[in-house]
């Protein structure tokens, strides 16, 4: 499955030689870790159209979220994927990402106890984790016939947190937001 996926990716990437147009997009939205733990994501995207309906977006996401009594996370990740537009205005997309996640324990305090039993406060911060991810998306283009797209989208995202969590241990997030084309060429 992975091989097929990579092959398709390579084929599409090479097809950019017959590209039509490039959009430069910015956007942002709600980032809900496990849906309900709130955060914000902002994005900058280069969308390479290689037909009227199909594109390869390369997107840089910067975001953070707050999960009470778990942790607060801040991340930066680069996503590459496909986007398929339909005549109705809807589009589907999927992407894979790689980035970094810094997290800070969210609780009243963090303590450590030394060998003699003395208690002191410890740092909430942890070493930065590698953050691979898979994102799916469903959206709608509000301005289909315009050169400058305005997209609304819903993006479920599954991401990992290595080495602090094993590969079998994923996090889930739901993103809802808006993307606007600032420049096309």
């Amino acid at each position: 499955m992975k091989k097929i996926y990579i092959s398709i990716l390579v084929v599409f990437m090479t097809m950019t030689a017959v590209k039509a147009q490039t959009h430069f997009n910015i956007g942002g939205g709600y980032f809900g870790q496990t849906v309900s733990y709130p955060g914000i994501v902002i994005e900058a995207e280069r969308e390479q159209m290689f037909s009227k309906n199909v594109s390869i977006p390369i997107r840089l996401d910067l975001g953070f979220y707050f999960h009470p009594r778990y942790h607060n996370g801040a991340f930066l990740d680069l996503n590459v994927g496909f986007r398929q537009y339909f005549k109705s205005g809807f589009f589907l997309e999927e992407g894979i990402g790689a980035g970094v996640l810094a997290y800070f324990l969210n609780s009243d305090a963090v303590y450590q106890v030394d060998d003699s039993g003395l208690v002191s406060e410890a740092s909430r911060a942890n070493p930065v984790d590698f953050m691979p991810s898979i994102t799916l998306g469903l959206g709608y283009n509000l301005t289909q016939d315009s050169g400058k797209q305005n997209l609304i989208w819903l993006r479920p995202k599954v991401y990992w947190q290595a080495p602090h969590k094993t590969l079998s241990t994923y996090n889930f997030a739901l993103q809802v937001g808006f993307t606007h084309t600032i420049k096309s060429k």
Partner: protein, 348 residues
């Protein structure tokens, strides 16, 4: 009109999500950072009490935060300060996967740190410890070493493990005693039950890992030795899934996390804390589901016999019609026994 409905539905979803739950607001919640693990500790209950009951969860790999869901523990929260904590590589503990720190001795050291932290934050309180299943074994190992028991007024061993080889044998006896009755049922799956008999013929108890080998636990469940009355249990134990998923300290990762692997479970297989319980001399209550097949009730008698405590201060209570989870299955009896034990010994 449809658009307004969608907007309203989304707004309602987010407003509902914003409303905080007990899991996010009640009590004190802090982390203990020790040797690469950030272990959450939740202290809640009756803060005017002079008694702190430190719970030690089972598994290994379960969560202390879930203990709060059990009715029996909720009752205790009315009277005492309860401490729930997640052990290393368990629950919502956040830690780098360092195999070196995943061993029973490290868990005992972690328990020591948790107790020291609790003593520091809540000085002058009378401490009791309750350990369930693996938590019973961990609390036995902790209390029995380095005189730790001296900091406590009493110990409650709730269906706790103690001696791996003994328990594998008792589980086998428990299962094989019940298999003939199962085979005599009119619509019995004879092949399945014979498979269990064959398993024990082919695998001597010395070769069955008490923690790393899951088969005996499946077979115990098949003869209904994990929960006495499953239908009643499902009716009475209301797990607040929506709250747990969307409004708690739990992240999705908890639901897919695991203690790790059979290899790490294997480090628990040969545990025998019989020498440790010989060192313990504080009051102790061995509280058991009489019908438990996971840690059979004979283990309670074994702990009683080997515990260093004077017979006048130790007791075995086996709760009828109850298996591995008295705090869920018989919460009123569980509460009465635990609170009566605490009230008896808190001032001694």
């Amino acid at each position: 009109m449809k658009r307004y409905f969608i907007v309203l539905a989304i707004a309602a979803l987010f407003m509902g999500a914003c409303e905080k739950s007990e899991f996010q607001t009640a009590g004190d919640f802090f982390h203990l950072s020790h040797k690469g693990a950030d272990m959450p500790i939740w202290v809640k209950g009756n803060f005017s009490s002079d008694v702190i009951l430190i719970t030690v969860h089972g598994g290994p790999g379960d969560s202390g935060m879930e203990q709060h869901i059990a009715k029996g523990f909720k009752y205790l929260e009315e009277d005492y300060i309860m401490v729930y904590w997640d052990q290393r590589f368990s629950g919502m503990t956040q830690a780098e996967r360092d195999g070196k720190t995943q061993n029973p001795d490290q868990y005992i050291e972690d328990t020591e740190k948790v107790v020291q932290l609790i003593q520091s934050k809540y000085p002058g309180k009378k401490l009791f410890m309750i350990g369930h299943s693996w938590g019973g074994q961990l609390s036995a190992g902790y209390l029995g070493r380095d005189g730790h028991f001296n900091d406590f007024k009493g110990w409650i061993d709730l269906n706790g493990s103690i001696n791996a080889v003994l328990e594998v044998q008792l589980m086998k006896d428990y299962i094989l005693e019940r298999v003939p009755a199962e085979m005599a049922e009119p619509d019995a799956d004879l092949e399945f039950w014979q498979f269990i008999i064959d398993f024990y013929e082919e695998n001597p108890v010395e070769t069955i890992g008490n923690y790393s080998n899951p088969e005996p636990y499946w077979y115990v469940a098949a003869v209904e030795g994990d929960v006495y009355d499953y239908e009643k249990y499902m009716e009475e134990v209301k797990i607040p899934y929506t709250e747990l998923i969307f409004k708690s300290m739990f992240a999705m990762s908890f639901y897919v996390d695991a203690f790790y692997s059979d290899e790490t479970y294997g480090r628990w297989d040969d545990l025998d804390y019989t020498p440790e319980i010989g060192n313990i001399t504080i009051p102790a209550l061995m509280l058991w589901g009489a019908d438990d097949g996971i840690v059979p009730a004979e283990v309670a008698d074994y702990v009683y016999e080997n515990l260093g405590t004077d017979p006048s201060m130790k007791e075995v209570v086996k709760i009828p019609e109850c298996c591995h989870g008295p705090q869920h299955e018989q919460p009123e009896i569980f509460y009465n026994e635990v609170s009566s034990f605490i009230e008896t010994y808190k001032n001694q």
